[in-house]
Symmetry: D2
Subunit: 345 residues, 4 copies
């Protein structure tokens, strides 16, 4: 940390800032310029509160030279984090292809779509049993019944299950059925839920909040990681901007940035990222080209009748087309679609 004193700071103010820093177990390094004094904070003491320091009299500004997350950073953990998702590995060469409906709408429906996405090449099944809806009057999901149907779909297809949990007290229940706990964008800073997910030691798919910075996403991940639960996938699903033509603005920049600064796998969610099915393929290919470790996509056998998010859902046929293009692209960027048929087959 660097403390920049005001141009008119007094000698006494400077001494008091130094005393405070030393009291926390740090050394200081003084740089007395013509215009102002700058104090470097050196060493490893108690956590220093940047805001407190900036409130000291005579202080102009406090500048951080490091980021606030630790376990999530590449510096802490240079190797990419990888872990099993069903028969495949997330974060390594294989792309994770997670697909399924927005909501579980019934037993037959989820089993049918599970078979359909598996045939199309998916490596995991998504589907919401507990749904966060903007309106209290909208369909809120099938609850535990939906979880049971998801488990049955897994039994029949072998696809691991990714499903959302919204209530910290339901983490054990959802973890009983699901292979991956999804934490939704609206709950990215629901710290009670993050703690519960951390303690569960279950794999987590953590979605970026629609107005959260990349740094805040990593801080949210840090909550989970701080419990020793390292199996966390980050998910870019679009941010909120002034542009209203698309539902969100998919932050393609976040893919290479996250690959650079964290070791956690990055999954792209173009369904929410663009919000209209006709643009989902283009954004999906873009995400893979930019280095994403996988795609999570909404697929529904009859989007027009979907109970939620039909506007952005692909049909199984369109999803199959997309997977075929992803196979070719994956090879080009040094990745692999594990469910792809061998060439010529």
């Amino acid at each position: 940390m660097i403390v920049v004193m005001a141009t008119n700071a007094t000698a006494r103010q400077i001494s008091e800032v130094i005393a405070r820093i030393r009291a926390m177990g740090y050394e200081v390094h003084l740089s007395e310029g013509e215009e102002r004094t700058i104090i470097g904070v050196i060493g490893r003491g108690d956590p220093l509160d940047k805001e407190q320091l900036s409130m000291q009299e005579g202080v102009h500004e406090v500048l951080s030279v490091t980021h606030p997350y630790k376990i999530a950073s590449r510096e802490y953990h240079p190797e990419a984090t990888t872990f099993a998702l069903g028969q495949h590995t997330v974060g390594a060469k294989d792309l994770a292809l997670i697909a399924g409906p927005c909501s579980v709408e019934g037993r037959e429906e989820i089993i049918e779509i599970a078979h359909a996405v598996k045939e199309a090449g998916a490596t995991a099944l998504r589907g919401g049993a507990f749904k966060p809806r903007t309106s209290p009057y909208s369909f809120q999901g099938m609850g535990e019944e939906g979880l049971k149907y998801l488990a049955e779909a897994r039994e029949q297809t072998g696809l691991p299950i990714v499903t959302e949990v919204m209530d910290p007290s339901l983490v054990p229940l959802v973890a009983e059925y699901a292979d991956v706990l999804q934490i939704g964008a609206r709950n990215m800073q629901n710290y009670t839920l993050l703690h519960a997910a951390g303690k569960s030691h279950h794999p987590v798919l953590l979605k970026r909040g629609m107005m959260s910075t990349i740094e805040e996403l990593l801080m949210a991940a840090e909550y989970i990681l701080s419990h020793g639960n390292m199996r966390v996938m980050l998910c870019e699903r679009g941010i909120r901007t002034f542009e209203t033509y698309t539902r969100n603005t998919f932050d393609i920049n976040a893919i290479p940035v996250l690959k650079d600064i964290t070791h956690l796998p990055i999954i792209a969610d173009p369904s929410h990222g663009v919000g209209k099915w006709e643009y989902v393929e283009a954004v999906s290919l873009a995400a893979v080209a930019a280095g994403a470790d996988g795609l999570i996509l909404e697929v529904h056998q009859d989007p027009e009748s979907a109970m939620s998010d039909g506007r952005q859902s692909l049909t199984p046929k369109r999803y199959h087309e997309l997977v075929k293009k992803t196979v070719a692209l994956a090879n080009l960027v040094g990745r692999n679609v594990p469910t792809a048929q061998p060439v010529g087959a």
Copy 2:
């Protein structure tokens, strides 16, 4: 709702859309233009899903002519909602002046500041016992111990208590101590928490999420209201924009807009809205001039030592100055500061 068909929609597509609308219990009104057909949806049937309709073949766009919230709207409830907060009434002529530290930091500290803000003219005490912090390594609040100190501060000063609850399972505990349950900006769309607050039938201060539209704020309130809990105050606390000079951008427009479209009281939080104490007074006066029903402000006896949010905290002395200016301004805009000394006293 109005369904705008595509210019090239076929007669069969039009019939199918009409059939679907009728199947939900509505009548249709057809307008066949030269370029396209427009279908008006008339009557009161089952809830219609705008997204589903927009997915029907041949549909260009579906336009809403009403807003999605009901109980929160002025149309539903034309009179302003008012309710007791301690000895005063929120939402009527009296301004609510809620003040106190960001966090409860200890027994003596909260009791001291409670007396200080009371003397300055506050009508309620704020202070966090459970703190949502971006970093898992930051101070997370004193928990139930903090709630007990708040209750003791109330006993000594008579000020009702406003404090945050983050965990749905802790709503009963917090409601036992607090007069008002605060739901923080990060949890505005934590629907499990909203349901729990609704069921508690305890007064609620609902903060607008930094990324949430005015309509989404009202939809979040609707979750609470739908349980019959009508004692909800809305809180504008600044939104996230591209501007980084201030912590947030206080949305002054939201004050007159909310006063117009909802009957719920609107409290302004300029401490978070601007994020630097030196600008808090200006934004507070602006909020009252624009029609806010109250102010919630961070006040700390020693902002430089505050465990959180010191940068935006007023000293008791500065808070007292602000209250004095608010008294004069309140009269001008037809409001009243109930704790104000009579003129000439």
Copy 3:
């Protein structure tokens, strides 16, 4: 400036950075921490390019400790800038009350509205002769004919004229008729136009771009000031955010911030800032309460027939009501409405 070296920077990289800084005429101050070296840049040499320095090998980050504008800053010019606008002074105790239609629509129309706003208490007349319109098919203004009508309105009412100039080559023409050159939000970074306005030495009203930070606004002002033209008013007119209920988000925070960091007068434009006439009064009072030096408002005798911006235009009657409330508020915040009738008159 402070250069933060990477944790793994080599001694050679450090030497090269130091050499580069010295070559520009600065001294360096070295702080060698356990983890990294930090280099302070001291003295006054040639302008240093932050970006260039940050590109040097081994550099982690370059931090500025000063802002990039000079003449616009309070540090450079601690006293508030004031100058004459008609019979009154802008930037001192008197509020500037600029009012009139979005566009000049005809001779009679502008003369009529000029009389109306004068009677209501305005101190200057606004009206566009050259209109920046999103669509090439919309009314683009009356051009020089409109300027002539504005001049005639001034002759009849004594109100000075504020009108927009969009084309650098037309600055002399517009300056011939207008008392204040308005530079619109879309042109805030039209540097050719800023240079032309600077060279004209005519008073300027510079609107903040809807996408521009406070710092960028001051940098744009710096273009004008750098020609020795100090008669610049800044105008906050709302920024673009994700909120769509209002046309823009009026950045009330910007008022106290600008009053703090610059000496230039700040005019508020609530008509554009909120975009709906029914909310304009609330936001206008808020702006004055927050410390604005004046208001620029759209007033039209028949908003329903206005050729542009009718949705946000006040009638003369409503404007008159607003001015009356402003008079009372001005006294409260230590300001004055120069056209106000003496109390009791």
Copy 4:
């Protein structure tokens, strides 16, 4: 257009709205619901002002069912617009690979980099002679001297020239030297400049403003197109959002959206879109995967010494790597890099 009347609109108000619409040469279609009346506007009359209609008494809202741009739309011109850029064609199968420094810094420098990007596979040379800089104290470009050096570079390499014009009065001068007039992001709504570019009938590269919607970009293009100048390329270069880790947020969604709704070619500018050279390759490949018609990239022989934008500039070597990857990707998405060596060569 659809006029939604208020629930309490009177019969007289409804008649007046209808009369107004008819007076403009349209027919109306009335839909009288239980709650409100809705008026459809039918036919082709004089341009109707949505805002004016929405100001009529008794009107709740006016909804558009069409977009405001015409010549730019796919509906008006279903075939993709293509035109020659040097020896290749923009907007057809060939990708346009435009590369070069941010600024022309000298004769030798621009000629050297022109040869370097040509060897790497570029199809056009970029370089600014007139530079829009945030600060009046920064390097503003070499002016006409820079244009001459660009022309010399073209002579030696055969690469057509893309360079920015900021001043409407300089359009003829810049058009004399340049093959493509670039209109920068800050000038996207500089209508005087857009008109001048339209009248020049010279090819134009129109950059999206950093806070402009897709619709506003097309409206800006419409200004140029309305003069009969159809040779317009649109350029997505990142928008301004709350995220500060990257310089801008490259709007990858805009690529498939623009390909869908307009016939004009879309060029991606990942250099500005992400702002740090280490992420430029990932975003470039993403843009091509999403369907862009070309890439405009900043390349500098010594980014550390660049007079502007060094932080986002590639070295010629890195650019060459990027082009090689683009060749492979282009084939995959049905495009072609015209300068690519035949496979096996």
